[in-house]
């Protein structure tokens, strides 16, 4: 199963090598070679788009910019200055990659609206580049550039064969990169970014780095592919390069084929290119953009998973139908034109793929009654007695202040967590508990003050660095990666943890953490299929899989029923026994009393009290803060 993708790629490669050879023997018309070169070009471009926009969810409307930089680098270096064509092609890839990295440097650093602003930026960039090219005499100057026919290697007798082979190589490289990414951390980092970027960063995924790698690869492939296209065209102009075709085509191809799978954009390229070809030969050129627009809207609304998802549900049926119809129509002479046969076969196959049902895509989930498999240890009301003596200071926060606009959420809080402790962080709503957790996990910087872990300053570090230093957190409302299974949610944390493992090894290691929280039986379920309690346990499993020294539990028990609470309390105890210090933010004082070795009470952004649970809870100031200011407290 693992090597299906490599087999597919090898098959494509063999076909590509065989075709020019067979063509001479079987006397195929040149047209088919041109047709296939077109599909290969679009497969490369749409795969390039998909690596960034499909895998990571950052929609780009700027594929025309990457393509155009490739086209014009080839045109200027080879066409005007006579550099050798393959040097120009490499330079085209690098120039386009640099453009991508420049865009990423600006857009990927933004704190909010990153996805939206990235998309809008990429809408504008091709138009800016087009006017640069049009105005600059050194580039185009509005006249267009003629590109001579390159000197092809001697074994390729004709120019079209050279274009075919070059397009094929670029497409194969693009597909191989997309496939390898899907199997490795480079793709999985992007999948987590697509699902929830902030959570991914908090689990140790260096999100900025991986987005930059993705946009760099996207630019590199698109640039080289654009350079080959420039050779084929022989003449390039600003209007012909920076138009709407490239961004629209790659988006429609990827959406139609399926954005989550490496082969999706290639499948989409075959469909869209064949459709375009038939529309053009039928005299419907004016309709082709309308048809593409309609396909885009309908697929986005009705089948956003795309064709690949359907093919994978019914692999044999769709493949069989395709082969039978294609060969039947062509060989039986119903149509003399194989492209028409191809178009009909593709159309019928698509209908089958879009019919719901068939084999379930994900691995089957183990049915159970929804109850977590935890060995219930009776949890009485006995106070926590496991005081740890002499623990070293682990986390030290000093005089931490955080303001939002005019609101002062934290007004100078100092707090120390020692090794082995379980500190209960309590306080009324709005007292600053979650803000403090956000600061300690590096999700946001404090306005002033310092926070150190084991003596290392964490203020100013990005959250993934803080995660690698040894702080993990959970969210009040669970935020699992919804497109990954429970097991893979945990595997991600191991894969990008302090001692990173490969995908396979991480999946194996995930079992240990799932068992610790009692989710072992639900490893193959998707987060949408498990209940709130189980999602909260998943949050904990994912957090401890980063192997933290300090775990921040932000209201990890909110919204649970009493049985589930007892179960969660037991899980927290087990985590602590495994050697993790814990800060527990919690409203339920019963839980805090059971678990905490020490309590810190916040009120209105200041520390109100601190000490042993039994003592702190009798402090009149604490009781007053909890019962409300106007309540005249008669204590107990």
């Amino acid at each position: 199963m693992r090597h299906k993708g490599w087999l597919a790629l090898a098959g494509i490669a063999v076909a590509l090598v065989a075709l020019p050879v067979i063509r001479h023997a079987a006397d195929f018309p040149m047209f088919y070679l041109i047709f296939l070169s077109g599909i290969l070009f679009w497969a490369a471009q749409s795969t390039s788009w998909n690596i960034l926009s499909g895998y990571s969810g950052y929609f780009s409307f700027g594929q025309g910019a990457f393509f155009g930089v490739g086209v014009y680098t080839m045109a200027v270096l080879f066409g005007r200055q006579g550099t050798s064509w393959w040097v120009a092609a490499l330079a085209a890839g690098i120039a386009s990659m640099l453009l991508g990295l420049a865009i990423g440097t600006i857009a990927f650093r933004l704190r909010s609206l990153r996805g939206e602003i990235f998309a809008l930026l990429t809408l504008a960039i091709p138009f800016i580049l087009a006017s640069v090219a049009r105005l600059s005499k050194a580039i185009d100057g509005g006249q267009g550039i003629v590109i001579p026919v390159p000197e092809a290697p001697s074994f390729l007798s004709q120019f079209q064969e050279f274009v075919f082979v070059a397009s094929g190589i670029v497409a194969l490289i693009a597909l191989a990169i997309a496939y390898v990414m899907q199997l490795t951390r480079y793709g999985w980092a992007l999948f987590t970014i697509r699902d929830d970027e902030d959570v991914a960063e908090g689990l140790g995924v260096p999100t900025f780095l991986h987005k930059m790698i993705a946009i760099g690869v996207t630019g590199l492939i698109a640039g080289i592919s654009g350079a080959v296209a420039a050779l084929q065209l022989g003449f390039v102009s600003v209007e012909g390069t920076f138009n709407l075709d490239v961004p629209l085509f790659v988006i429609v191809m990827s959406v139609l084929g399926g954005r989550g799978h490496w082969a999706g954009p290639m499948v989409g390229a075959i469909y869209v290119y064949t459709l375009q070809n038939r529309l053009a030969s039928g005299g419907f050129e004016g309709w082709s953009l309308i048809v593409l627009g309609v396909i885009l809207v309908l697929v986005m609304l009705l089948a956003p998973q795309g064709l690949m998802a359907g093919f994978r549900r019914r692999p044999w049926l769709t493949a069989g139908v395709f082969v039978v119809i294609f060969l039947g129509l062509w060989l039986l002479g119903v149509t003399s034109d194989p492209v028409t046969a191809l178009a009909v076969a593709l159309g019928v196959t698509a209908v089958i793929a879009f019919i719901p049902g068939g084999r379930k895509k994900g691995p089957p989930s183990i049915a159970d009654d929804g109850a977590p498999r935890v060995h219930h240890a009776p949890v009485g009301d006995e106070p926590a007695v496991e005081m740890v003596e002499g623990g070293q200071p682990l986390l030290v926060a000093e005089d931490v202040v955080k303001t939002f606009g005019g609101v002062r959420a934290l007004r100078g809080v100092s707090m120390t967590v020692h090794e082995g402790e379980l500190v209960g962080l309590v306080g009324p709503n709005g007292s600053g508990k979650t803000t403090l957790v956000n600061l300690m996990s590096g999700a946001m910087p404090p306005t002033s003050g310092t926070i150190t872990l084991d003596g290392t300053e964490i203020v100013g570090s990005r959250p993934h660095r803080v995660a690698h230093l040894g702080i993990a957190r959970t969210y009040q409302i669970p935020r699992p990666f919804t497109s990954l299974t429970v097991r893979d949610n945990v595997a991600i944390a191991i894969m990008f943890g302090r001692e990173p493992l490969s995908l396979d090894a991480s999946r194996g290691a995930a079992a240990e953490y799932l068992d610790l929280v009692g989710l072992g039986g639900r490893a193959d379920a998707f987060p949408g299929e498990i209940n709130l309690h189980q999602r909260q346990l998943l949050e904990m499993a994912r957090a401890i899989a980063t192997r933290p020294s300090l775990l921040l539990l932000d209201e990890a028990l909110a919204g649970l029923n009493p049985v589930e609470i007892d179960n969660a309390v037991e899980v927290v105890r087990r985590i602590r026994r495994s050697g993790v210090s814990i800060v527990l933010v919690e409203h339920l004082l019963r839980v805090v009393n059971q678990l905490a070795t020490r309590i810190v009470v916040l009120d209105q952004g200041l520390e109100l009290a601190e000490g042993e649970p039994s003592v702190v809870m009798r402090d009149p100031a604490v009781v007053k803060a909890y019962l409300g200011r106007q309540a005249d407290v008669e204590s107990d």
Binding site: G57, F59, F61, I106, A107, R109, L110, R111, S112, L113, G115, E116, I117, A119, L120, L121, L123, A124, F127, I128, S131, V132, L135, L244, L248, I251, V255, G286, W287, L289, I290, L292, G293, V294, I295, L296, V297, M300, L301, P304, G405
Partner: protein
């Protein structure tokens, strides 16, 4: 002097861009939809104005009697579609991109890709200009600025003063809470999208009065209009107007100080700088 003329003319042009940005900004801020189809409605309304004025004898401004209600319905229907399929913010970008492409191609098929211009006998405003002191302004520019300022101010007043406006603000801040307090978000959303469509119709009407039409105009607008949306602050109506005036004045000035062709770069660079340093807009609202 020429700089003053350029800056003021630029600001007046910028107000028309603010009018285009208004509907987008409101839909993004309150409905969480980035509606590229807004540009499609502006384009379509422009061509309908051209068609109605040349074939029925309606005055070009009078055509909004037809186009504004029509675009209200179109905008409302698109919003109903987004609601029905529960479209997310980023997906609305891709879907409305599809709608925009369809519209551009339909317009090309009907009216060709060539320039279309209203004949002077139908468009009495095209050749006129008004002198204010030593400055001169073409009437179409003043008309556009007038409509834009009136509509933007009206929108700001509706949002501030009316129940529906305040309900929308509540909805923009927290959908679920607002719904819990009995705000019919569906109806409000559809009304807002309809109103945005009507504003698109008015912006569209101003293009054939001021100049020529081509089907690929939306792609020339997109960069500058979104720059204004973001600089003004998403959902911030007065901010949108200020940003429009500012961007217009700067690009007018740059065009006379250097060359007209440099102004897109300067504006674009300013937008990039603004994005990096003020991603929430130049004119943050209270509490923001």
């Amino acid at each position: 002097m020429i700089e003053l003329q350029a800056a003021v003319s630029g600001a007046l042009n910028g107000s028309l861009f603010a009018l285009m940005a208004l509907g987008l900004s409101l839909a993004w801020g309150f409905l969480k939809v980035i509606n590229l189809a807004h540009f499609a409605m502006i384009l379509l309304a422009g061509y309908l104005t051209f068609e109605l004025a040349t074939s029925t004898g309606l005055g070009p401004i009078t055509t909004i009697v037809v186009t504004a209600p029509l675009m209200f319905v179109v905008g409302a229907l698109i919003q109903l579609g987004y609601e029905r399929f529960d479209v997310s913010e980023l997906n609305s970008l891709l879907i409305s991109y599809g709608l925009l492409i369809i519209t551009v191609q339909v317009v090309t098929n009907i009216w060709t890709a060539d320039f279309q211009r209203l004949p002077t006998e139908i468009n009495p405003y095209s050749a006129e200009s008004v002198a204010i002191g030593s400055l001169r302004f073409p009437v179409p520019t003043l008309l556009a600025a007038g409509f834009a300022v009136v509509l933007v101010v009206a929108a700001a007043l509706v949002l501030e003063r009316t129940y529906a406006g305040r309900a929308l603000q509540a909805f923009g801040q927290d959908r679920e809470i607002a719904s819990a307090f009995g705000i019919d978000h569906r109806l409000l959303g559809v009304l807002l999208a309809g109103a945005a469509g009507a504003s698109a119709a008015i912006a569209g009407m101003l293009f054939p009065i001021g100049g020529t039409l081509t089907p690929d105009l939306p792609f020339e607008w997109i960069g500058q209009v979104f720059a204004i949306v973001i600089l003004g602050g998403i959902g911030n109506v007065p901010g949108t107007l200020y940003a429009g005036l500012l961007v217009g004045a700067i690009s007018g000035l740059v065009a006379v100080i250097w060359t007209p062709s440099t102004s897109p770069f300067v504006v674009f660079s300013l937008v990039v700088l603004a994005l990096v340093f003020r991603p929430r807009g130049l004119f943050p609202q209270k509490g923001g």
